[in-house]
Structures are given as structure tokens and as C-alpha cells.
């Protein structure tokens, strides 16, 4: 018993001492998986440069939104923008950090990457379960010269809530009336058909392992896993390849300043080369933060990332936010986020 007490005292002293020794600021963020590699890279470099610790955990966009609302983290991250009303109700602001795209990937024997062409209608009908076989006329007519098997299509979707799903279903919701009426869009939906994989990786694994599948993943995962992607028909009826240029083109016409809450959606955008299933990924913070010092650090970090993180973003296949846009964002930080009447962010 006495021995036990001693151990207890030693432990307490150790932890107490350690707490003081390691008192340097730790900023917690959580949310979207899509920008995780980018934020982790930024945090790593920023830590080397300034010593500040940004702990970002990819728990999914829905999780990011929930945790920042519950104030369990200093910032949330989401691929699905919150609506202006939602932001106001919860006292939050959001701002974009990068742009990326969602890519349909297929596994059909003999079909190479970029060979398969899909229209909005064909893609939505496959996911609605209306097109059941690969040699369906709706697909075959888009792909003359490609040999399509007379086999059932296995549809793969995400099983967990996800910003990727939000962007993908938001696109289908815009382009297909049937999808809009039957399913709608969100970070998780009631899928009419298919099997669910957890995370981008889960979907990628299923598509790799099962023949005659179609799935959707973030661009970086399609590249990393060497999956065969499909070309998509965009709003101007061009078949485009997923690429940094295509995502940039989709973001080119966005009116950030004029969109309430910066809730810009980049699916089905005009532009000759625009990739139709694109989206921005957002950071969300409290307007009246629980910890002002931490939120100040958050802004310091993202200001640095906007300016000095551009090359890191490009090297990881993310489209960085251009200077005119982030200036608007930083003005909003200064104006809207306050502690005791004082602005938290000053350049």
C-alpha cells in the first residue's frame, strides 16, 4: 500500500514536471481526410521553422464540423462547405485552403487509364443502379472502339461520412434529376446500390481487388494507387482528364467575395477544361474562440501556409489558393473573429 502511494506520488510529480517542461503551444485541428497529407506536411515544416505544434487529425469532414461546433478542437476542416446560415447559427467562419478533385476510377480488363469516357447521365445512372452492365448502350455509345464486357457493374462507395462523398454526390445531384429526387447529397447518403469501403483507401482497395468495379476517390489516391480513371464530360460538353489544370479551371470563375460564408461549390463549373467534380477544402474556426491565443496561432499557421506553402501544395497535387482570394479571407479573419471586442488576427 505504502509502495503504491509512493508510485502514485512519483507519477504525479513526473507528469506535473513534464507539463511545465512541455508548455509550448499545441494547436488541435481535426476533419477532412482529403487535405490531410498537405496539412501534415505544412505542420511538419512549420514546426521545424517556428517550433509551434499543429496537431491535425484526419477524422473526416463531418467529424471536423462536429468537433469545432463542440469546441473540442481549435479548428475544424471540411471538404463540404457549411452554408452561410449554418455558419451564422453556430458562430463560425470558414475559408478555403486548397482545391482538389474527385475522380471516378474503374477496373475493367483491357480498359486503360483515361480510356473510358463517361457523361454525367451515364455516371449517375450507374450509381443509381439503372445501368447494370458495362456494355449498356448509354456507356457503349460514349466509348466507340473500347471493348466493354457483358458483365455486371459493381459499384463502390464510401461507407464512412466523407467530404469526398459530399463533392461527388453534390455533382450527381446537380446533373441528374433522378439522383436529386431519390438520393440527394451529403457527407453520407443512402446509396441505392453498391458496396462500401472505409476511406479513400477502402474504396481504392475494393476497386483494385474486384473486377468490373467503379468507384470514386480523391485525385491523389487515384494517382498513388495507379487506378484507371475515367474521363468526364464537363458542362461545355468536353471530355476532360482529371488534372491540376482541370481543377484550377473549375475554380477560376468562382466568386469568393460574393458568396455568403465563402461557401463556394466547385462542381459542374463552366470553362473549357474545367474538371466537373472539383471542390475546395475548408478550414472552420469559431468567431468567439474558446482559446484566443490558440486561434491566433491557427491564423498565423494558415497565413504562412497561404504564402509559403504554395510549392509544397503543388508537389503533393493540390491546387493552392491564389493571392487575391486569400487576401479576402484574411480580411474576414481580421473583421469577424474577436476576443473581448478585439480582433484576434492582425497581420
Amino acid at each position: 500500500m505504502k509502495k503504491y502511494l509512493n508510485i502514485l506520488i512519483v507519477l504525479t510529480v513526473c507528469f506535473g514536471g513534464a507539463s511545465i517542461a512541455f508548455a509550448a503551444g499545441l494547436i488541435n485541428g481535426a476533419g477532412a481526410t482529403f487535405p490531410y497529407p498537405l496539412y501534415a506536411k505544412w505542420a511538419y515544416e512549420y514546426n521545424k521553422k517556428t517550433g509551434a505544434k499543429m496537431n491535425y487529425q484526419s477524422i473526416g469532414s463531418g467529424g471536423g464540423i462536429k468537433q469545432i461546433k463542440a469546441k473540442t478542437v481549435d479548428f475544424g476542416a471540411s471538404d463540404a462547405p457549411l452554408t452561410a446560415k449554418d455558419l451564422d447559427d453556430s458562430g463560425l467562419i470558414q475559408f478555403p485552403m486548397a482545391v482538389g478533385g474527385v475522380v471516378p476510377v474503374v477496373n475493367i480488363a483491357g480498359v486503360k487509364s483515361g480510356q473510358m469516357k463517361l457523361s454525367a447521365e451515364a455516371l449517375s445512372d450507374v450509381y443509381l443502379g439503372k445501368i447494370k452492365k458495362w456494355n449498356d448502350v448509354k456507356i457503349a455509345s460514349l466509348n466507340p472502339g473500347v471493348t466493354l464486357p457483358d458483365d455486371s457493374i459493381t459499384v463502390v462507395h464510401r461507407s464512412d461520412g466523407s467530404g469526398t462523398t459530399w463533392i461527388f454526390t453534390n455533382y450527381l445531384d446537380k446533373v441528374s434529376k433522378g439522383w436529386h429526387e431519390k438520393v440527394g447529397f451529403g457527407t453520407a447518403v443512402d446509396w441505392p446500390t453498391g458496396v462500401g469501403g472505409k476511406g479513400n483507401e477502402g474504396v481504392a482497395t475494393y476497386v483494385k481487388r474486384i473486377k468490373n468495379t467503379i468507384g470514386y476517390v480523391e485525385y491523389a489516391y487515384a494517382i498513388q494507387n495507379k487506378l484507371a480513371h475515367a474521363r468526364m464530360e464537363n458542362k461545355e460538353k468536353n471530355f476532360v482528364e482529371p488534372s491540376m489544370e482541370g481543377f484550377m479551371a473549375a475554380a477560376a470563375n468562382a466568386d469568393w467575395k460574393g458568396t455568403p460564408g465563402f461557401a463556394v461549390v466547385l462542381t459542374d463549373q463552366g470553362g473549357k477544361n474545367a474538371w466537373p467534380i472539383a471542390g475546395a477544402t475548408f478550414i472552420i474556426v469559431q468567431k468567439a474562440p474558446a482559446s484566443c491565443a490558440n486561434t491566433k496561432e491557427v491564423f498565423g499557421f494558415f497565413d504562412w501556409a497561404y504564402r509559403d506553402g504554395v510549392d509544397m501544395a503543388k508537389s503533393l497535387d493540390y491546387v493552392p489558393i491564389p493571392q487575391p482570394v486569400y487576401t479576402v479571407m484574411e480580411d474576414a479573419w481580421a473583421k469577424e473573429v474577436k476576443c473581448g471586442g478585439q480582433g484576434v488576427w492582425k497581420r
Binding site: 467529424g63 468537433q67 459493381t154 461507407s159 464512412d160 453520407a188 443512402d190 474486384i210
Partner: protein
């Protein structure tokens, strides 16, 4: 018990020590009540909105905010039942081997090895299941199974390696040590005189086991089985990795499904809307109630048999 009440020497320290230890014993009750209270409180929204319909609805639609527990409850129950069907005969075999057949020298090591299965953390089962077991059976077992046994709908589905049947199988491996060890202890409780009378009338070893040992130990075995069932129902990590995570009910057991615990692990941090979160907590509540009932049943059955897992002391 002369010491418990007889010694009233009026020491304040005695009273204090008794009080403190009582406090912690009472804390168990308080803890269990608090868990149930918190679960009910957090799922109140969903209970109010969906009522009993929650239990029988198979819709899981986060967009519309309409939720039903059936796919998750179905997956939990079916994967656990598969596990029981596989694990029970093997565990009984284990127990027979360890009590009746095994040569003395290897009893100890083999018993220990089987018990080690119980000490491997559940996440290791999940990870191994995902990286090693699932690809293995997807290549080598499931296509064969679909081809040969596909006339039975239960053995159809997509050969993904993950799904209801693989999840049940991994669960079976995980619960075998629990059922085995209780069954072994129950078998050891059979009075030797009964077995010896069996041998005396010329019965073979198997006949003694089948006609004397098992009937004698029946209710203890039932308790062991239900105990294993309780374990399987609440298992999270291994199932999350390998059940396939699809909120749909399918009779084809190779297809992916979900379970209550897998749904919680996957979706709990994702649920933004209050009703979504509340529905997930209600799933947790249902799981808690199911395991509570099952384990209580196991306890009672073991208690009714001659076997007492915690024997000794004053009763």
C-alpha cells in the same frame, strides 16, 4: 464470520476503511447506472423521434435524417451467431482434448496457447484480418465457395474477402478461448465417480464424454456459449476492419454488412446533425441492453449449473 461484525472495537479508522471500500463497491453500481443514464439521455432525441420503429426500420439515411437500427442489429446478431456456430464445436473439442484426451505433458502448453488467443488485442485481429486473411480468402476460398456452395443463398455474394462471413469467422477465433476455458472448467467439475461408473460398464472414452460428461455439464456449457456470444456481440475493432461497412441487409453472407459497434467506430466522429448522433448513441444503448441481457442469462445459467466460476468464500 466472526471477523466481519464481531469486532466492534470502535476504531474510527475501521469505520473509515470500511466506508471507503464500500464507496468503491457502490461506485460499480453508480457507474453502470451512469452509463445507462447517459446513453438514454443522449439518445432521447432519436428515441422520441423514431420510437420503437427505430428497431425495425432498415433505412439509414443521413441526408434525410432518417435512421433505423435493423441493418446494424442484424449484422451484430448474424456475425455473432456465425461465430458461435463455428466456435462452439471447436471449443468443446478443445475442452474435451484438454480434460480427457491430451497426454499430461502437453495439456499445459496447449491450454496456455489457446488462452493466448484471448490476449491478442482486438485491433491486431482486425489488422491481420484486413491485410492477410481477407486477401487470402478472397483469392483462395470465396470463389470456390461461391462456385460449389452457391446453390445455397447463404454462400453467395461478392468475393471481397471482407463481409459478414469473414467477420463471423474472425470473431469465432476470438471467442474460442473464452468458451474453451469455461467449458474445460465445467468438465473438470464432473465428479470422477460418474465417469468411472461409465468406464466400469465398458463405455468408450467418447461414450463417457457424450453420455455422461456433456449431459452433466449441459447448463454450464450453455452458460459458456452465451458468454462467448456476449463477447462476440460487443466486439468492435476486428469487426470494423473486416465486416465491410455497408448499411444494408443481405442474406448472402459473403456480402459486406455492418454491426452496431462498427457503425459507431466508423460514424461516431462523423455525425454532425444531432439526430444522427443521437441515433448512433441509441445503437450503442441497444448493444448495451442486448449484451446486458445475454450476459445476465449466461451468469444465471452458469450459476445454476454445479460450476461456479468464482467459488470459495462464504456463501
Amino acid at each position: 464470520m466472526p471477523i466481519s461484525d464481531g469486532h466492534k472495537s470502535g476504531h474510527a479508522a475501521d469505520a473509515a476503511f470500511k466506508g471507503v471500500s464500500f464507496f468503491f463497491a457502490f461506485a460499480v453500481m453508480a457507474l453502470l447506472s451512469a452509463i445507462i443514464f447517459v446513453l438514454i439521455k443522449e439518445s432521447w432525441l432519436s428515441i422520441g423521434k423514431f420510437g420503437l420503429g427505430f428497431l425495425v426500420s432498415s433505412t439509414w439515411d443521413p441526408v434525410q435524417g432518417v435512421f433505423g437500427a435493423l441493418p446494424a442489429v442484424w449484422g451484430t446478431v448474424v456475425s455473432s451467431v456465425i461465430a458461435i456456430i463455428i466456435a462452439v464445436p471447436i471449443s468443446l473439442g478443445n475442452a474435451i482434448f484438454l480434460t480427457e484426451t491430451a497426454p499430461k505433458g502437453i495439456k499445459g502448453p496447449i491450454g496456455a496457447a489457446i488462452e493466448l488467443l484471448a490476449s491478442i488485442p482486438s485491433i491486431i485481429y482486425g489488422m491481420w484480418g484486413l491485410f492477410v486473411f481477407a486477401p487470402f480468402i478472397a483469392e483462395n476460398v470465396e470463389p470456390f465457395m461461391i462456385e460449389r456452395l452457391g446453390f445455397i443463398p447463404l454462400f453467395r455474394g461478392a468475393p471481397l474477402g471482407v463481409g459478414m462471413l469473414p467477420a463471423g469467422f474472425i470473431l469465432a477465433i476470438m471467442i474460442i478461448p473464452f468458451i474453451s476455458s469455461v467449458a474445460r472448467d465445467v468438465f473438470l467439475m464432473v465428479p470422477p465417480i460418474l465417469k468411472e461408473s461409465g468406464y466400469a460398464v465398458g463405455a468408450t472414452k467418447w461414450e463417457v464424454i457424450w453420455k455422461v460428461v456433456i449431459p452433466f455439464a449441459k447448463s454450464g456449457i450453455m452458460g459458456a456459449v452465451i458468454l462467448g456470444l456476449g463477447r462476440a456481440l460487443g466486439e468492435t475493432m476486428a469487426v470494423t476492419f473486416i465486416i465491410g461497412n455497408s448499411q444494408r441487409i443481405s442474406l448472402e453472407l459473403l456480402n459486406p454488412g455492418t454491426s452496431i459497434s462498427a457503425a459507431l467506430a466508423n460514424e461516431f466522429t462523423e455525425a454532425v446533425e444531432d439526430i444522427y448522433l443521437s441515433s448512433l448513441v441509441e445503437l450503442g444503448l441497444i448493444l448495451f441492453v442486448i449484451t446486458f441481457v445475454v450476459l445476465a442469462a449466461a451468469k444465471l445459467m452458469i450459476a445454476r449449473s454445479s460450476y461456479r466460476p468464482y467459488s470459495g468464500g462464504a456463501r
